[in-house]
């Protein structure tokens, strides 16, 4: 034998999965939602998304190269995904420099301070979003009107979101069925004809993306399905108890950031639990906290907070919820 053979331990073959491919899959799955947002919010959506993605990638590059002096890993695509998801959580008329701030915060504080991809306990995009929400509450909660102002960016005409209208009405003691007339019907909500953040408006587009993620085995169904189901059941109970004061469960799952949160934000691989049972507990927690904030809290929307709160519990869930081992107990078939 003249040539040297490679000697390494088994296994000697590997699947064709890679971090890059996972991230690519996520990006592809976001295409339908992106097309909807381009149609509904037009120029603003394009500007915000571009700035957010570019800033995230540059921030990661700069931090890895000049501050942490480690290997630059932007090619794994995770910064692109964070940038897209952050943009999807912002209103389309947000001033560009706020987007930059949010993106730098998401990557810098949300991800790199913990050591980069895989080590961060909180979803970086949500860290960025909540930072912006707390710093710029007015700009973060003014939403351009769908479709009609899509050729404008900063000077787009604004209006309230369905959840905002709802909260306002409840506060003023108006009867809900009246208020519902001002809100797009369920079908319009499903398709995305409403005010809101870039990526949260069309449940249909998000669900399409979800199917793609399932098909590519990037996600399992547990977290999205259980999050949405928990919200549905919880708001259903409230609605049955008092239909005058509470919106229908269908309204709740179609509005606000619930679909986006359940499918894309809560399922972030790094910050969600490792076992199926853990995922179900985590998802149920997100669902319950979301409804509590929406119905009883000061904010009209609570998905982001709910996810961040449950992110904090993930290490605990991973510690106590173990997969069932083979042969843990004798099974006689």
């Amino acid at each position: 034998m003249s040539r040297l053979l490679t000697v390494s331990p088994s296994p000697h073959i590997a699947s064709d999965q890679s971090v890059e491919k996972l991230m690519q899959g996520v990006v592809i799955s976001l295409i339908p939602a992106f097309l909807v947002t381009l149609y509904v919010f037009g120029l603003g959506a394009l500007i915000i998304t571009t700035i957010s993605v570019i800033t995230c990638v540059l921030a990661e590059l700069t931090i890895q190269k000049y501050m942490m002096k480690t290997e630059v890993r932007i090619h794994d695509g995770s910064a692109i995904v964070t940038g897209l998801l952050l943009a999807f959580n912002l209103p389309s008329n947000l001033p560009w420099w706020m987007v930059v701030l949010g993106a730098v915060f998401a990557i810098g504080i949300g991800k790199m301070t913990y050591g980069g991809l895989g080590n961060n306990p909180f979803n970086p995009a949500l860290v960025g979003r909540v930072f912006l929400l707390i710093s710029f509450p007015v700009q973060m909660t003014s939403w351009p009107l769908p479709v009609e102002s899509r050729m404008q960016y900063l000077d787009a005409a604004t209006g309230a979101t369905p959840l905002g209208i709802l909260k306002e009405a409840v506060r003023n003691g108006e009867s809900l069925p009246d208020v519902m007339n001002q809100i797009p019907d369920h079908m319009q909500l499903f398709l995305g004809q409403m005010g809101g953040s870039l990526g949260e408006i069309s449940a249909l587009a998000l669900v399409l993306g979800f199917f793609w993620l399932l098909y590519k085995r990037i996600l399992t169904w547990h977290i999205p399905v259980f999050t949405v189901a928990t919200v549905f059941v919880f708001t259903g109970i409230l609605w049955l108890a008092n239909p005058d004061k509470n919106a229908t469960p269908l309204f709740h799952i179609l509005t606000g950031g619930l679909m986006l949160g359940a499918i894309y934000m809560a399922t972030d691989l790094v910050t969600s639990p490792m076992t199926k049972t853990g995922m179900i507990i985590y998802a149920a927690g997100i669902g319950i906290i979301t409804v509590v904030i929406r119905v009883f809290g000061a904010y009209p929307e609570g998905v982001s907070f709910a996810i961040l709160i449950m992110n904090a519990f993930v290490p605990l869930i991973n510690k106590y919820i173990k997969p069932k081992r083979f042969g843990e107990e004798v099974k006689h078939g």
Binding site: P11, H12, F326, V330
Partner: protein
């Protein structure tokens, strides 16, 4: 619905290049090197000396001690030396080198190939013949068969599970054996049933071998108490515990043996060896070896004498490919990479797989993205990402409480990890350390 096991598992590409290739007899080589450790336990005690003339099938080393087994000469000729040779694990171990002269067999071995269906011995005699013949598990585990057949006191064997799964990609030796020696395997199963005093035997074959399933079903239908199960294709279904679960629904307890749930399992290759030992008085001196790989000219199934150099096998399959990067003894999931090819075939050599250079290098390790894929695919319900971290940090107590010893080293975790993390490498390291700790504690 096809049966299968339900926890974890993966679907690597099957790559069964040598399926449906007939079994070819590899010519007897000029010299053989017969290792004295071809089984799990201590090496067998050599009973021939340099210069001795031996015949094919003559015993040359006795298995003494619990998990040991007899070793026979696979050729006739003269013992040229007894010295160390490298084995598949890279260790140097004692071997008997024999220069071949002719092919003269030991008296009493029946060389005709007629099917002998008559069951003429009682249980103890069957067991004695199996012990004499030095049969070990041919699926690769090399656990001595006679030990498996001796059911510990207080336990009871209720059924036999026969492993025709061959879930490792590329390998086809069991498939070829079932197609060509199905009748003999059926006799072997009856012998084993008798030795264990059980009434039921279940054969598990994955659904990617429909011809073998049909043939074995056909043969079993004429017999009492042998049933064939077509199984959904899933790795590592050939793992003893997974196969027993798939067929019987029983779960071997953590740290336990199949017989704890009333099952004794054998590979079809082992069953064939049992047939030959009991019916033909032929000790285990040859076996079927698949030689395969995408770069190999003629992927084939050979019947080779134990002690034949792996390089001879590769020659017979068309020679070492130009772009060979890795030579593996066994399959791609659990096989061992070899540093050279001048290594003798042993009783546990199920195949030789040659990977091209570009298939041989591992991808660069990336940070864990906590995707949980390794947890999902682990057939033992472990958390590979956690075991690797604990092993990296030498936290052996935690490793033990996280049940690292349950790992069957199937490699599904490393295979799946999108970050190309060498999970099993570290888990093995952890296992060997925890194993040492457990052993010292017992002392």
């Amino acid at each position: 619905m096809l049966r299968t096991f339900h926890k974890g598992g993966i679907h690597p590409p099957e790559s069964k290049l040598s399926a449906h290739k007939p079994i070819q007899v590899l010519p007897v080589p000029g010299t053989v090197a017969i290792l004295l450790s071809q089984h799990m336990g201590a090496p067998a005690k050599v009973i021939v000396n340099k210069g001795d003339e031996v015949k094919t099938g003559q015993i040359i080393a006795r298995g003494e001690g619990f998990l040991s087994g007899n070793i026979h000469s696979s050729v006739s000729g003269k013992v040229s030396r007894i010295e160390e040779v490298q084995d598949v694990s890279g260790y140097r171990r004692q071997a008997v080198f024999i220069d071949v002269a002719g092919d003269e067999w030991e008296d009493g071995i029946n060389l005709d190939t007629n099917l002998d269906k008559e069951i003429r011995y009682d249980g103890p005699e069957i067991l004695k013949r199996i012990t004499e013949a030095g049969i070990v598990g041919m699926g690769g585990a090399t656990f001595p068969t006679h030990v498996k057949l001796t059911v510990p006191r207080g336990k009871k064997a209720e059924c036999l599970v026969i492993n025709g799964v061959e879930c490792e990609p590329y390998l086809t030796s069991d498939h070829a054996l079932m197609l060509e020696k199905g009748e003999e395997i059926m006799v072997g199963i009856q012998l084993l049933k008798k030795a264990l005093q059980v009434n039921k035997a279940y054969i598990g074959i994955e659904n990617n071998k429909p011809d073998a399933i049909e043939k074995m079903r056909d043969l079993a239908s004429a017999l009492d108490g042998i049933e064939v199960f077509a199984l959904q294709v899933k790795y590592p279904q050939g793992g003893e515990k997974q196969l027993i679960k798939a067929i019987t629904g029983r779960e071997v307890p953590s740290g336990g043996l199949p017989v704890d749930v009333g099952v004794v399992a054998f590979n079809v290759g082992t069953v064939f060896a049992v047939y030959e030992a009991v019916q033909k008085n032929k000790p285990l001196i040859d076996r079927i070896v698949t030689v395969t790989g995408k770069a190999v000219k003629n992927p084939s199934n050979f019947i080779a004498r134990i002690g034949t150099s792996i390089s001879d096998l590769i020659e017979a399959a068309g020679g070492m490919p130009e772009n060979a990067g890795k030579v593996i003894s066994g399959g791609p999931m659990m096989g061992k990479a070899l540093s050279g090819t001048n290594i003798p075939v042993v009783k546990g050599t199920s195949g030789i797989l040659i990977l091209a250079e570009e298939e041989s290098t591992r991808l660069k390790t990336q940070p864990c993205i906590r995707c949980a894929k390794c947890v999902t695919v682990c057939p033992m319900g472990l958390e590979p990402y956690l075991l690797m971290t604990l092993s990296e940090r030498s936290l052996f107590d935690r490793l033990e409480t996280e049940h690292v010893m349950d790992c069957i080293e199937c490699g599904s975790c490393s295979y799946t990890c999108p970050a190309s993390r060498p999970l099993l490498d570290f888990i093995r390291l952890g296992k060997s350390n925890v194993g040492k700790i457990i052993r010292t504690r017992k002392k």
